[in-house]
Protein backbone atom coordinates (compact mmCIF):
# COMPACT_ATOMS: atom_id res chain seq x y z
CA UNK A 1 0.00 0.00 0.00
CA UNK A 2 1.42 3.30 -1.08
CA UNK A 3 0.30 6.90 -1.15
CA UNK A 4 -1.05 6.10 -4.60
CA UNK A 5 -3.29 3.43 -3.08
CA UNK A 6 -4.69 5.94 -0.56
CA UNK A 7 -5.48 8.48 -3.25
CA UNK A 8 -7.06 5.85 -5.50
CA UNK A 9 -9.32 4.69 -2.68
CA UNK A 10 -10.21 8.30 -1.90
CA UNK A 11 -11.25 8.78 -5.50
CA UNK A 12 -13.41 5.66 -5.42
CA UNK A 13 -14.93 6.78 -2.14
CA UNK A 14 -15.66 10.19 -3.62
CA UNK A 15 -17.75 8.63 -6.37
CA UNK A 16 -19.78 6.56 -3.93
CA UNK A 17 -20.27 9.36 -1.42
CA UNK A 18 -21.31 11.80 -4.12
CA UNK A 19 -23.80 9.27 -5.45
CA UNK A 20 -25.32 8.90 -1.98
CA UNK A 21 -25.00 12.54 -0.98
CA UNK A 22 -28.69 13.44 -0.93
CA UNK A 23 -29.44 10.54 1.40
CA UNK A 24 -26.60 11.36 3.80
CA UNK A 25 -27.51 15.02 3.78
CA UNK A 26 -31.05 14.14 4.71
CA UNK A 27 -29.96 11.87 7.54
CA UNK A 28 -27.99 14.63 9.27
CA UNK A 29 -30.83 17.06 8.69
CA UNK A 30 -33.22 14.70 10.39
CA UNK A 31 -31.25 14.03 13.55
CA UNK A 32 -28.29 16.41 13.33
CA UNK A 33 -27.49 19.75 11.81
CA UNK A 34 -27.23 18.90 8.13
CA UNK A 35 -23.54 19.46 7.60
CA UNK A 36 -22.21 15.91 7.65
CA UNK A 37 -22.26 15.35 3.91
CA UNK A 38 -20.49 18.65 3.24
CA UNK A 39 -17.89 17.90 5.89
CA UNK A 40 -17.20 14.50 4.37
CA UNK A 41 -17.19 15.72 0.78
CA UNK A 42 -14.82 18.56 1.65
CA UNK A 43 -12.51 16.13 3.43
CA UNK A 44 -12.37 13.71 0.51
CA UNK A 45 -11.73 16.52 -1.95
CA UNK A 46 -8.87 17.87 0.15
CA UNK A 47 -7.31 14.43 0.45
CA UNK A 48 -7.48 13.86 -3.30
CA UNK A 49 -5.86 17.25 -3.84
CA UNK A 50 -2.86 15.92 -1.91
CA UNK A 51 -2.08 13.52 -4.76
CA UNK A 52 0.99 15.23 -6.13
CA UNK A 53 2.21 16.41 -2.72
CA UNK A 54 2.35 12.94 -1.21
CA UNK A 55 3.11 10.84 -4.22
CA UNK A 56 6.75 10.17 -3.32
CA UNK A 57 6.30 10.00 0.44
CA UNK A 58 6.55 6.94 2.66
CA UNK A 59 3.27 5.42 3.82
CA UNK A 60 3.59 6.91 7.29
CA UNK A 61 4.32 10.37 5.99
CA UNK A 62 1.58 10.14 3.40
CA UNK A 63 -0.95 8.97 5.96
CA UNK A 64 0.16 11.63 8.33
CA UNK A 65 -0.45 14.32 5.72
CA UNK A 66 -3.81 12.81 4.93
CA UNK A 67 -4.63 12.78 8.63
CA UNK A 68 -3.78 16.47 9.01
CA UNK A 69 -5.93 17.35 6.01
CA UNK A 70 -8.83 15.37 7.38
CA UNK A 71 -8.42 16.87 10.82
CA UNK A 72 -8.02 20.45 9.63
CA UNK A 73 -10.31 20.30 6.63
CA UNK A 74 -13.46 18.58 7.84
CA UNK A 75 -14.44 20.03 11.19
CA UNK A 76 -17.33 18.89 13.32
CA UNK A 77 -17.48 15.55 15.08
CA UNK A 78 -16.59 13.58 12.01
CA UNK A 79 -13.47 15.68 11.40
CA UNK A 80 -12.12 14.98 14.87
CA UNK A 81 -13.00 11.30 14.62
CA UNK A 82 -11.81 10.56 11.09
CA UNK A 83 -8.76 12.72 11.84
CA UNK A 84 -8.00 10.60 14.89
CA UNK A 85 -8.45 7.44 12.83
CA UNK A 86 -5.86 8.47 10.26
CA UNK A 87 -3.47 10.06 12.74
CA UNK A 88 -3.35 6.79 14.64
CA UNK A 89 -2.98 4.72 11.51
CA UNK A 90 -0.11 6.93 10.37
CA UNK A 91 1.71 6.07 13.57
CA UNK A 92 1.25 2.32 12.96
CA UNK A 93 4.33 0.23 13.71
CA UNK A 94 6.46 -0.58 10.71
CA UNK A 95 4.07 0.58 8.07
CA UNK A 96 6.89 2.00 6.02
CA UNK A 97 8.13 -1.54 5.51
CA UNK A 98 5.00 -2.34 3.55
CA UNK A 99 1.33 -2.75 4.35
CA UNK A 100 -0.28 -6.04 3.49
CA UNK A 101 -3.90 -6.68 4.34
CA UNK A 102 -3.01 -7.99 7.78
CA UNK A 103 -1.02 -4.89 8.59
CA UNK A 104 -3.80 -2.79 7.23
CA UNK A 105 -6.27 -4.51 9.50
CA UNK A 106 -3.96 -4.11 12.47
CA UNK A 107 -3.53 -0.37 12.05
CA UNK A 108 -7.20 0.11 11.22
CA UNK A 109 -8.10 -1.60 14.49
CA UNK A 110 -5.67 0.67 16.35
CA UNK A 111 -7.26 3.65 14.66
CA UNK A 112 -10.77 2.57 15.62
CA UNK A 113 -9.66 2.09 19.21
CA UNK A 114 -8.33 5.67 19.25
CA UNK A 115 -11.58 6.94 17.75
CA UNK A 116 -13.50 5.12 20.45
CA UNK A 117 -11.45 6.83 23.11
CA UNK A 118 -11.78 10.23 21.48
CA UNK A 119 -15.55 10.03 21.15
CA UNK A 120 -16.17 8.00 24.31
CA UNK A 121 -18.88 6.13 22.42
CA UNK A 122 -19.33 2.40 22.23
CA UNK A 123 -21.55 0.15 20.16
CA UNK A 124 -25.23 0.91 20.68
CA UNK A 125 -25.01 4.67 21.04
CA UNK A 126 -26.17 5.42 17.47
CA UNK A 127 -22.92 6.73 16.00
CA UNK A 128 -20.35 5.67 13.47
CA UNK A 129 -18.98 3.41 16.21
CA UNK A 130 -21.86 1.03 15.43
CA UNK A 131 -20.09 0.47 12.14
CA UNK A 132 -16.45 0.95 13.02
CA UNK A 133 -16.21 -1.27 16.10
CA UNK A 134 -17.98 -4.36 14.69
CA UNK A 135 -16.04 -4.05 11.45
CA UNK A 136 -12.77 -3.71 13.30
CA UNK A 137 -13.63 -6.72 15.47
CA UNK A 138 -14.69 -8.78 12.49
CA UNK A 139 -11.49 -7.98 10.60
CA UNK A 140 -9.31 -8.81 13.57
CA UNK A 141 -11.17 -12.04 14.18
CA UNK A 142 -10.86 -13.00 10.52
CA UNK A 143 -7.10 -12.59 10.70
CA UNK A 144 -6.90 -14.49 13.99
CA UNK A 145 -8.96 -17.30 12.52
CA UNK A 146 -6.81 -17.25 9.43
CA UNK A 147 -9.72 -16.79 7.07
CA UNK A 148 -8.77 -15.81 3.58
CA UNK A 149 -8.69 -12.19 2.60
CA UNK A 150 -11.74 -12.21 0.40
CA UNK A 151 -13.82 -13.98 3.01
CA UNK A 152 -12.78 -11.47 5.65
CA UNK A 153 -13.57 -8.52 3.42
CA UNK A 154 -16.95 -9.89 2.41
CA UNK A 155 -17.84 -10.40 6.03
CA UNK A 156 -16.71 -6.89 6.86
CA UNK A 157 -18.97 -5.48 4.17
CA UNK A 158 -21.94 -7.34 5.65
CA UNK A 159 -21.09 -6.37 9.21
CA UNK A 160 -20.76 -2.73 8.23
CA UNK A 161 -24.18 -2.75 6.64
CA UNK A 162 -25.75 -4.48 9.63
CA UNK A 163 -24.11 -2.01 12.00
CA UNK A 164 -25.31 0.92 9.94
CA UNK A 165 -28.87 -0.43 9.80
CA UNK A 166 -28.82 -1.15 13.53
CA UNK A 167 -28.54 2.55 14.28
CA UNK A 168 -32.04 3.10 12.95
CA UNK A 169 -33.93 1.93 15.98
CA UNK A 170 -31.45 3.04 18.59
CA UNK A 171 -31.78 5.90 21.01
CA UNK A 172 -28.77 8.17 20.56
CA UNK A 173 -26.65 8.77 23.63
CA UNK A 174 -23.65 10.39 21.95
CA UNK A 175 -23.34 13.07 19.29
CA UNK A 176 -25.84 15.66 18.24
CA UNK A 177 -28.67 13.18 17.84
CA UNK A 178 -28.55 12.51 21.57
CA UNK A 179 -30.29 15.87 22.10
CA UNK A 180 -33.38 14.47 20.44
CA UNK A 181 -34.23 11.68 22.86
CA UNK A 182 -36.99 9.48 21.50
CA UNK A 183 -37.31 11.61 18.37
CA UNK A 184 -34.03 10.25 17.02
CA UNK A 185 -35.50 6.76 16.76
CA UNK A 186 -36.40 5.62 13.28
CA UNK A 187 -33.52 7.40 11.60
CA UNK A 188 -30.17 5.95 10.52
CA UNK A 189 -27.14 7.79 11.87
CA UNK A 190 -25.44 9.84 9.13
CA UNK A 191 -21.91 9.09 10.33
CA UNK A 192 -22.71 5.39 10.42
CA UNK A 193 -23.98 5.59 6.87
CA UNK A 194 -20.98 7.46 5.52
CA UNK A 195 -18.53 5.18 7.34
CA UNK A 196 -20.31 2.10 6.06
CA UNK A 197 -20.17 3.38 2.49
CA UNK A 198 -16.47 4.12 2.77
CA UNK A 199 -15.70 0.71 4.24
CA UNK A 200 -17.78 -1.00 1.62
CA UNK A 201 -16.04 0.88 -1.18
CA UNK A 202 -12.56 0.07 0.03
CA UNK A 203 -13.35 -3.57 0.82
CA UNK A 204 -15.04 -4.17 -2.52
CA UNK A 205 -12.23 -2.47 -4.35
CA UNK A 206 -9.63 -4.66 -2.64
CA UNK A 207 -11.82 -7.73 -3.09
CA UNK A 208 -11.92 -7.23 -6.80
CA UNK A 209 -8.23 -6.52 -7.11
Amino acid sequence: MSSNFFIQKAKEIQIVIDANAPEIEKLDQEIGDGDHIFNVQRGIKLVIELESTIKDLTASKALSQIAMKVLSGIGGSSGALFGTLFMTMAKGNGIDEGIDYKKAIEIFAQGVEAVKQRGKADVGEKTMMDVLIPVSNCLKKGVEENKNKNEILSEAIDIAEKGMLSTKDLLATKGRASFLGERAKGHIDPGARSSQLMIKTVCESVLNS
Partner: protein, 330 residues
Protein backbone atom coordinates in the same frame (compact mmCIF):
# COMPACT_ATOMS: atom_id res chain seq x y z
CA UNK B 1 -33.17 29.41 0.30
CA UNK B 2 -32.65 33.12 -0.20
CA UNK B 3 -29.31 34.55 0.80
CA UNK B 4 -26.93 37.27 -0.21
CA UNK B 5 -23.99 35.17 -1.31
CA UNK B 6 -21.82 34.34 -4.26
CA UNK B 7 -20.80 30.71 -3.87
CA UNK B 8 -21.27 28.47 -0.88
CA UNK B 9 -17.51 27.85 -0.90
CA UNK B 10 -16.71 31.55 -0.53
CA UNK B 11 -19.51 32.41 1.86
CA UNK B 12 -17.46 32.23 5.03
CA UNK B 13 -14.32 33.78 3.62
CA UNK B 14 -16.04 36.84 2.14
CA UNK B 15 -18.06 37.34 5.27
CA UNK B 16 -14.94 37.21 7.43
CA UNK B 17 -13.18 39.64 5.09
CA UNK B 18 -16.06 42.07 5.37
CA UNK B 19 -16.11 41.69 9.13
CA UNK B 20 -12.40 42.35 9.34
CA UNK B 21 -12.60 45.38 7.07
CA UNK B 22 -15.61 46.89 8.82
CA UNK B 23 -14.02 46.57 12.26
CA UNK B 24 -10.34 46.91 11.64
CA UNK B 25 -10.03 49.10 14.71
CA UNK B 26 -11.22 46.19 16.86
CA UNK B 27 -10.14 42.93 15.17
CA UNK B 28 -7.64 41.26 12.86
CA UNK B 29 -8.78 38.38 10.69
CA UNK B 30 -6.42 35.59 9.65
CA UNK B 31 -7.08 32.98 6.98
CA UNK B 32 -6.02 29.36 6.41
CA UNK B 33 -6.44 28.55 9.16
CA UNK B 34 -9.23 31.03 9.92
CA UNK B 35 -9.21 32.91 13.18
CA UNK B 36 -9.93 36.37 14.53
CA UNK B 37 -7.90 38.21 17.15
CA UNK B 38 -8.09 41.59 18.77
CA UNK B 39 -6.46 44.35 16.76
CA UNK B 40 -4.10 45.02 19.63
CA UNK B 41 -2.07 42.23 21.23
CA UNK B 42 -3.04 40.62 24.52
CA UNK B 43 -1.16 42.35 27.28
CA UNK B 44 1.53 40.40 29.04
CA UNK B 45 0.32 38.28 31.88
CA UNK B 46 -3.35 38.43 30.88
CA UNK B 47 -5.09 35.08 30.50
CA UNK B 48 -6.18 34.72 26.87
CA UNK B 49 -9.78 33.75 26.10
CA UNK B 50 -10.40 31.76 22.94
CA UNK B 51 -13.75 30.58 21.76
CA UNK B 52 -15.04 29.22 18.52
CA UNK B 53 -17.65 27.06 16.96
CA UNK B 54 -19.38 26.52 13.68
CA UNK B 55 -20.21 29.67 11.74
CA UNK B 56 -23.80 30.78 11.35
CA UNK B 57 -24.16 32.01 14.93
CA UNK B 58 -22.84 35.54 14.35
CA UNK B 59 -22.07 37.85 16.07
CA UNK B 60 -21.00 34.97 18.34
CA UNK B 61 -18.01 34.51 18.50
CA UNK B 62 -16.07 36.86 16.19
CA UNK B 63 -18.24 39.83 17.15
CA UNK B 64 -17.30 39.23 20.77
CA UNK B 65 -13.56 39.57 20.28
CA UNK B 66 -12.15 42.70 21.86
CA UNK B 67 -11.33 44.43 25.11
CA UNK B 68 -13.15 42.85 28.03
CA UNK B 69 -14.21 39.74 26.15
CA UNK B 70 -12.44 37.28 23.85
CA UNK B 71 -8.85 37.46 22.69
CA UNK B 72 -9.55 35.24 19.72
CA UNK B 73 -12.32 33.34 17.96
CA UNK B 74 -12.10 30.37 15.62
CA UNK B 75 -14.97 30.16 13.12
CA UNK B 76 -15.65 26.75 11.63
CA UNK B 77 -17.59 26.17 8.46
CA UNK B 78 -21.30 26.87 8.80
CA UNK B 79 -22.61 24.68 11.63
CA UNK B 80 -19.35 22.64 11.72
CA UNK B 81 -17.04 23.02 14.68
CA UNK B 82 -13.64 24.50 13.92
CA UNK B 83 -10.53 22.36 13.80
CA UNK B 84 -7.52 22.05 16.13
CA UNK B 85 -5.14 23.84 13.78
CA UNK B 86 -7.29 26.97 14.02
CA UNK B 87 -7.22 26.90 17.80
CA UNK B 88 -3.50 26.26 17.89
CA UNK B 89 -2.77 29.11 15.52
CA UNK B 90 -5.03 31.43 17.50
CA UNK B 91 -3.45 30.38 20.79
CA UNK B 92 -0.01 30.94 19.38
CA UNK B 93 -1.00 34.50 18.48
CA UNK B 94 -2.74 35.50 21.69
CA UNK B 95 -1.15 33.50 24.50
CA UNK B 96 0.90 36.02 26.42
CA UNK B 97 2.26 33.44 28.82
CA UNK B 98 -0.53 33.44 31.37
CA UNK B 99 -2.33 30.60 29.65
CA UNK B 100 -5.42 30.11 27.56
CA UNK B 101 -9.05 29.54 28.46
CA UNK B 102 -11.05 27.78 25.76
CA UNK B 103 -14.76 28.50 25.92
CA UNK B 104 -16.51 25.59 24.28
CA UNK B 105 -20.17 24.91 23.64
CA UNK B 106 -21.12 21.36 24.49
CA UNK B 107 -21.39 19.61 21.13
CA UNK B 108 -19.35 16.51 20.52
CA UNK B 109 -17.65 18.07 17.50
CA UNK B 110 -16.63 21.20 19.39
CA UNK B 111 -15.61 19.27 22.46
CA UNK B 112 -13.44 16.80 20.55
CA UNK B 113 -11.76 19.39 18.35
CA UNK B 114 -10.98 21.69 21.28
CA UNK B 115 -9.81 18.70 23.29
CA UNK B 116 -7.38 17.74 20.55
CA UNK B 117 -6.09 21.30 20.37
CA UNK B 118 -5.63 21.38 24.13
CA UNK B 119 -3.70 18.10 23.99
CA UNK B 120 -1.45 19.39 21.23
CA UNK B 121 -0.77 22.69 23.02
CA UNK B 122 2.36 23.14 25.02
CA UNK B 123 1.29 26.02 27.29
CA UNK B 124 -1.10 25.93 30.26
CA UNK B 125 -4.76 25.94 29.32
CA UNK B 126 -8.20 25.12 30.64
CA UNK B 127 -11.66 24.81 29.13
CA UNK B 128 -15.05 26.09 30.16
CA UNK B 129 -17.84 23.98 28.72
CA UNK B 130 -21.23 25.68 28.34
CA UNK B 131 -24.36 23.55 28.45
CA UNK B 132 -27.20 25.91 29.31
CA UNK B 133 -29.94 24.57 27.02
CA UNK B 134 -32.60 23.19 29.33
CA UNK B 135 -34.60 21.86 26.37
CA UNK B 136 -32.39 18.80 26.46
CA UNK B 137 -32.39 16.39 29.33
CA UNK B 138 -29.12 16.33 31.22
CA UNK B 139 -27.59 12.96 31.86
CA UNK B 140 -24.14 11.69 32.54
CA UNK B 141 -24.71 8.76 30.20
CA UNK B 142 -25.18 10.98 27.19
CA UNK B 143 -23.57 14.00 25.60
CA UNK B 144 -25.66 16.06 27.98
CA UNK B 145 -27.11 19.46 27.20
CA UNK B 146 -26.27 21.86 24.38
CA UNK B 147 -24.38 25.06 24.92
CA UNK B 148 -26.36 28.01 23.57
CA UNK B 149 -26.83 31.71 24.29
CA UNK B 150 -25.43 31.73 27.84
CA UNK B 151 -22.06 31.31 26.14
CA UNK B 152 -22.25 35.04 25.41
CA UNK B 153 -22.73 35.75 29.10
CA UNK B 154 -19.86 33.45 30.04
CA UNK B 155 -17.60 35.21 27.55
CA UNK B 156 -18.52 38.65 28.89
CA UNK B 157 -18.02 37.80 32.53
CA UNK B 158 -14.89 35.68 32.21
CA UNK B 159 -13.52 38.25 29.76
CA UNK B 160 -13.90 40.90 32.40
CA UNK B 161 -12.12 38.84 35.05
CA UNK B 162 -9.26 38.05 32.68
CA UNK B 163 -8.96 41.76 31.86
CA UNK B 164 -8.80 42.49 35.58
CA UNK B 165 -5.90 40.08 35.99
CA UNK B 166 -7.68 36.89 37.06
CA UNK B 167 -5.57 33.73 36.90
CA UNK B 168 -6.25 30.78 34.62
CA UNK B 169 -7.76 28.91 37.53
CA UNK B 170 -9.95 31.81 38.64
CA UNK B 171 -11.19 32.35 35.09
CA UNK B 172 -12.03 28.70 34.67
CA UNK B 173 -13.87 28.67 38.00
CA UNK B 174 -15.86 31.79 37.23
CA UNK B 175 -16.77 30.48 33.78
CA UNK B 176 -18.11 27.27 35.25
CA UNK B 177 -20.07 29.27 37.80
CA UNK B 178 -21.72 31.49 35.19
CA UNK B 179 -22.64 28.44 33.15
CA UNK B 180 -24.12 26.72 36.19
CA UNK B 181 -26.06 29.86 37.06
CA UNK B 182 -27.60 30.04 33.57
CA UNK B 183 -30.43 28.33 31.77
CA UNK B 184 -31.72 28.89 28.25
CA UNK B 185 -34.40 27.67 25.93
CA UNK B 186 -35.39 28.58 22.40
CA UNK B 187 -38.26 28.36 19.96
CA UNK B 188 -38.23 28.67 16.19
CA UNK B 189 -40.89 29.90 13.80
CA UNK B 190 -38.91 29.21 10.64
CA UNK B 191 -36.05 27.02 9.57
CA UNK B 192 -32.59 28.01 8.37
CA UNK B 193 -30.55 26.96 5.36
CA UNK B 194 -26.89 26.01 5.37
CA UNK B 195 -25.44 27.76 2.26
CA UNK B 196 -23.92 24.55 0.92
CA UNK B 197 -27.24 22.73 1.30
CA UNK B 198 -29.27 25.38 -0.45
CA UNK B 199 -32.45 24.30 1.27
CA UNK B 200 -33.95 24.52 4.75
CA UNK B 201 -32.51 22.30 7.48
CA UNK B 202 -36.00 21.28 8.47
CA UNK B 203 -39.52 21.72 7.22
CA UNK B 204 -42.02 23.53 9.38
CA UNK B 205 -45.67 24.29 8.68
CA UNK B 206 -47.07 27.79 8.37
CA UNK B 207 -48.88 27.33 11.66
CA UNK B 208 -46.16 25.47 13.50
CA UNK B 209 -43.25 26.27 15.79
CA UNK B 210 -40.41 24.13 17.09
CA UNK B 211 -40.32 24.35 20.87
CA UNK B 212 -36.89 23.84 22.41
CA UNK B 213 -35.06 24.17 19.09
CA UNK B 214 -31.25 24.03 19.01
CA UNK B 215 -29.07 26.71 17.45
CA UNK B 216 -28.40 24.54 14.42
CA UNK B 217 -32.06 23.98 13.87
CA UNK B 218 -31.86 20.68 15.72
CA UNK B 219 -35.30 19.50 16.75
CA UNK B 220 -36.29 20.48 20.27
CA UNK B 221 -38.78 19.15 22.75
CA UNK B 222 -41.75 19.13 20.45
CA UNK B 223 -43.49 20.56 17.41
CA UNK B 224 -46.38 22.80 18.49
CA UNK B 225 -49.02 24.88 16.83
CA UNK B 226 -47.99 28.53 17.02
CA UNK B 227 -49.04 30.10 20.28
CA UNK B 228 -49.23 33.66 21.46
CA UNK B 229 -45.98 35.36 22.44
CA UNK B 230 -47.11 35.41 26.05
CA UNK B 231 -47.79 31.67 26.09
CA UNK B 232 -44.50 30.89 24.38
CA UNK B 233 -42.61 33.13 26.79
CA UNK B 234 -44.32 31.64 29.82
CA UNK B 235 -43.52 28.11 28.70
CA UNK B 236 -39.89 28.93 27.99
CA UNK B 237 -39.51 30.54 31.40
CA UNK B 238 -41.27 27.68 33.11
CA UNK B 239 -38.81 25.21 31.63
CA UNK B 240 -35.85 27.39 32.56
CA UNK B 241 -37.10 28.05 36.07
CA UNK B 242 -37.75 24.40 36.68
CA UNK B 243 -34.10 23.79 36.02
CA UNK B 244 -32.52 26.91 37.45
CA UNK B 245 -34.83 27.32 40.42
CA UNK B 246 -34.25 31.01 41.06
CA UNK B 247 -35.29 32.13 44.54
CA UNK B 248 -37.88 34.78 45.26
CA UNK B 249 -36.24 38.20 45.11
CA UNK B 250 -33.24 36.69 43.37
CA UNK B 251 -31.55 39.07 40.95
CA UNK B 252 -31.16 37.82 37.42
CA UNK B 253 -29.95 38.83 33.99
CA UNK B 254 -32.77 38.49 31.45
CA UNK B 255 -31.30 37.88 28.02
CA UNK B 256 -33.75 37.76 25.11
CA UNK B 257 -31.82 36.49 22.14
CA UNK B 258 -32.92 36.52 18.51
CA UNK B 259 -31.93 33.72 16.18
CA UNK B 260 -30.93 35.96 13.29
CA UNK B 261 -34.17 36.65 11.44
CA UNK B 262 -36.22 38.04 14.33
CA UNK B 263 -36.76 41.79 14.32
CA UNK B 264 -35.95 43.74 17.48
CA UNK B 265 -39.58 44.75 17.93
CA UNK B 266 -40.53 41.15 18.56
CA UNK B 267 -37.58 40.57 20.88
CA UNK B 268 -38.65 43.55 22.98
CA UNK B 269 -42.21 42.28 22.99
CA UNK B 270 -40.92 38.96 24.36
CA UNK B 271 -38.90 40.90 26.94
CA UNK B 272 -42.10 42.60 28.05
CA UNK B 273 -43.98 39.33 28.22
CA UNK B 274 -41.12 37.73 30.17
CA UNK B 275 -41.12 40.61 32.60
CA UNK B 276 -44.81 39.96 33.26
CA UNK B 277 -43.99 36.41 34.30
CA UNK B 278 -40.88 37.24 36.33
CA UNK B 279 -42.55 40.15 38.11
CA UNK B 280 -45.30 37.82 39.27
CA UNK B 281 -42.74 35.39 40.64
CA UNK B 282 -40.85 38.21 42.36
CA UNK B 283 -37.73 37.47 40.40
CA UNK B 284 -35.85 40.70 39.93
CA UNK B 285 -34.56 41.65 36.47
CA UNK B 286 -31.41 43.40 37.49
CA UNK B 287 -29.62 43.37 34.13
CA UNK B 288 -30.90 42.88 30.60
CA UNK B 289 -29.68 42.10 27.13
CA UNK B 290 -31.87 42.06 24.01
CA UNK B 291 -30.71 41.37 20.49
CA UNK B 292 -29.50 38.86 17.94
CA UNK B 293 -26.33 37.53 19.59
CA UNK B 294 -26.34 33.74 19.33
CA UNK B 295 -28.05 33.12 16.03
CA UNK B 296 -28.88 30.35 13.61
CA UNK B 297 -28.36 31.90 10.20
CA UNK B 298 -31.61 33.56 9.10
CA UNK B 299 -33.88 31.63 11.45
CA UNK B 300 -36.87 33.47 12.89
CA UNK B 301 -36.79 32.42 16.49
CA UNK B 302 -36.00 33.52 19.98
CA UNK B 303 -34.32 32.11 23.04
CA UNK B 304 -34.50 33.28 26.60
CA UNK B 305 -31.55 32.97 28.95
CA UNK B 306 -31.67 33.65 32.67
CA UNK B 307 -28.46 34.03 34.64
CA UNK B 308 -28.63 34.24 38.40
CA UNK B 309 -26.49 37.15 39.50
CA UNK B 310 -24.45 37.96 42.56
CA UNK B 311 -22.18 40.90 43.27
CA UNK B 312 -19.21 39.32 41.51
CA UNK B 313 -21.16 38.54 38.35
CA UNK B 314 -22.79 41.98 38.24
CA UNK B 315 -19.41 43.65 38.59
CA UNK B 316 -17.99 41.71 35.67
CA UNK B 317 -21.14 42.15 33.58
CA UNK B 318 -21.03 45.91 34.04
CA UNK B 319 -17.33 46.37 33.33
CA UNK B 320 -16.25 48.03 30.08
CA UNK B 321 -16.35 46.03 26.89
CA UNK B 322 -15.42 46.97 23.34
CA UNK B 323 -16.22 44.41 20.68
CA UNK B 324 -18.01 44.67 17.35
CA UNK B 325 -21.28 43.41 18.82
CA UNK B 326 -21.19 44.42 22.49
CA UNK B 327 -19.83 47.69 23.63
CA UNK B 328 -20.19 49.78 26.70
CA UNK B 329 -18.12 51.90 29.02
CA UNK B 330 -15.62 52.76 26.28
Amino acid sequence: MKKFMNTADNFLKESLQGFGAAHKDIVNCYYDPNFITRASPTKDGKVALISGGGSGHEPMHGGLVGHGMLDAACPGYVFSSPTPDQMLAAAEKVDSGAGVIFIVKNYSGDVMNFEMAAEMMSGPNASVLTNDDVAVEDSSFTTGRRGVAATVVVEKIVGSLAEAGGSLEECKKLGDKVNKNSGSMGVALTSCSVPAAGKPNFEIGDDEMEFGVGIHGEPGRRRDKIKSAQEVTSELLEAINEDLKPEKNEEILLFVNGMGGTPLTELYLIFDNAKNVLDKKNIKISRSLVGNYCTSLEMQGVSITLTKLDEELVKHWDSSVLTAAMRWGM
